[in-house]
């Protein structure tokens, strides 16, 4: 198979894409020292159907709006979940929201992980750092439809043990007999008995047939580049390696140009692309 499995972006189906709807914070969970997860319930709608890999624009009234990938279960459209790393004023304000607070949400936007098209294949999910969050909806889908896929492998790398996201879920997934979960950290003290090393060092331990594998990769751009390279060295075709790209998004509907990435807009044509399409663009520094 050489053609892309990518589902076309569905942004066009989003009604009134520039108008936020109100969502109330049900729960805020602290994931790590700088990362939180917000669980939201709708106030103006019945919920939000979304596909794994899509993102929303989250609006803190009076402060601003940021694009954040959806990290919840696509099978639960009445509960919107976002995992947010506090890196700027808006994301810090989002992580400061408490149960009962109301925020604005626009979306969902962008392309999705091709979970349906990957049926019948082995699936390798490679996450780096906060990159596990946009992949979690895909993991939920893969596990809920476990019989539709071959081997399932999750390879997750984080900076240190204290930076690991979704630890309880990782433990639960690891306890299953039908999915291989490998976790590594870049730096650890003597109290950590897991793997130490970059996420690509987990690949030799992963059980999959490279010729029948689809890979979903998300993390810092440099991690995705090296992960794609390692997957290709293992024999996975670039057309079946999918990355979730990041750029500075403002409008999320392909009008403002903030997220232009060569000939494509990340918000509209992405964020999920197959590696064959973006490999050359990733080497152009000006982009």
């Amino acid at each position: 198979m050489t053609e892309t499995l990518l589902v076309r972006p569905e942004t066009a189906r989003t009604p009134a894409p520039m108008a936020p709807t109100r969502w109330r914070v049900l729960r805020r969970r602290r994931e790590t020292h700088d990362t939180c997860t917000l669980e939201l319930e709708p106030l103006d709608t019945d919920g939000m159907a979304f596909r794994p890999g899509q993102f929303n624009m989250l609006y803190v009234f009076g402060i601003g709006e940021v694009p954040i990938s959806i990290s919840g279960d696509p099978a639960q459209p009445d509960r919107l979940v976002h995992t947010i790393r506090a890196v700027g004023p808006v994301s810090t304000a989002l992580c400061a929201r408490k149960a009962g607070d109301v925020i604005g949400v626009r979306g969902p936007f962008g392309s999705a992980w091709p979970v349906e098209a990957a049926e019948g294949y082995d699936v390798v999910v490679m996450a780096g750092g906060i990159g596990l969050a946009p992949l979690r909806p895909a993991i939920y889908h893969l596990l809920q439809h476990r019989g539709h896929y071959g081997n399932l492998v999750l390879l997750y790398g984080a900076r240190t043990p204290r930076d690991l996201l979704y630890v309880r879920e990782l433990e639960r997934w690891r306890g299953r007999f039908d999915v291989q979960v490998e976790v590594t950290v870049d730096h650890a003290g003597a109290g950590w008995f897991g793997h130490v090393g970059v996420v690509t060092t987990l690949l030799p331990r992963a059980h999959f047939d490279p010729e029948e594998t689809v890979a979903f990769v998300c993390g810092p751009e440099i991690m995705m580049r090296f992960a794609a390279k390692a997957l290709m060295e293992r024999g996975v075709a670039p057309e079946r390696i999918y990355l979730s790209m990041e750029r500075n998004m403002k409008c999320a509907i392909g009008l403002c140009g903030h997220c232009q990435f060569g000939p494509v807009f990340i918000c509209k044509d992405g964020p999920v692309f197959d590696f064959a399409r973006v490999a050359r663009l990733l080497t152009i520094r000006e982009l």
Binding site: V87, A190, S244
Partner: protein, 163 residues
């Protein structure tokens, strides 16, 4: 002889020695022995003479360094199928780090001086061994560079989508 034969079979199955001709496997098996380390024990220590390298057959090993005021830091972990130790290749043949068994470890240990002598006698064997180690050293260097980048920890230049 029987033990040596089984060692040769073990070598033939290992990816590190894939493609190596039978007579060479025989030669290398002559420098090898089976070893085991209990969890928590040191396989080698920093600063000691590097006399051996290991093919890990079972278990996990932590490559560590002790830093004053920071304690022990794990640089990398290795597991089944991995090669441990390359200081035996490079003068002054001293270990640069500690290697500690995290679990029970079973491995094949290779006498460094024995292998070096055989490589010196037969440059083709030397090339085969050194090119295999060069690949491992390059992979470890690449991984170390990525770790040094601190790619998950660095503050993003822009508001990331995945944050």
């Amino acid at each position: 002889m029987t033990a040596q034969r089984s060692l040769k079979d073990l070598l033939a199955e290992h990816p590190f020695f894939q493609g190596l001709e039978e007579p060479y496997l025989e030669l290398i098996a002559g420098c090898a022995r089976n070893v085991r380390f209990n969890a928590g024990s040191y396989i080698f220590r920093e600063g000691e003479p590097a006399t051996e390298f290991f093919l890990i057959r079972y278990g996990r090993v932590s490559i560590e360094v002790h830093l004053p005021e920071r304690g022990t830091v794990t640089i990398q972990t290795l597991g089944e199928g991995d090669v441990l130790g390359w200081s035996w290749l490079v003068p002054p043949y001293r270990n640069q780090f500690d290697a500690r068994a995290l679990t029970l470890v079973r491995a094949l240990a290779f006498d460094g001086a024995c292998i070096r002598n055989k490589c010196a006698e037969d440059p083709r064997l030397g090339y085969e061994i050194f090119s295999r180690f060069a690949r491992i050293i390059a992979e470890r260097l690449q991984a170390t560079r990525l770790q040094l980048l601190d790619m998950y920890g660095a503050a993003p230049r822009r508001q990331p989508l995945h944050a």
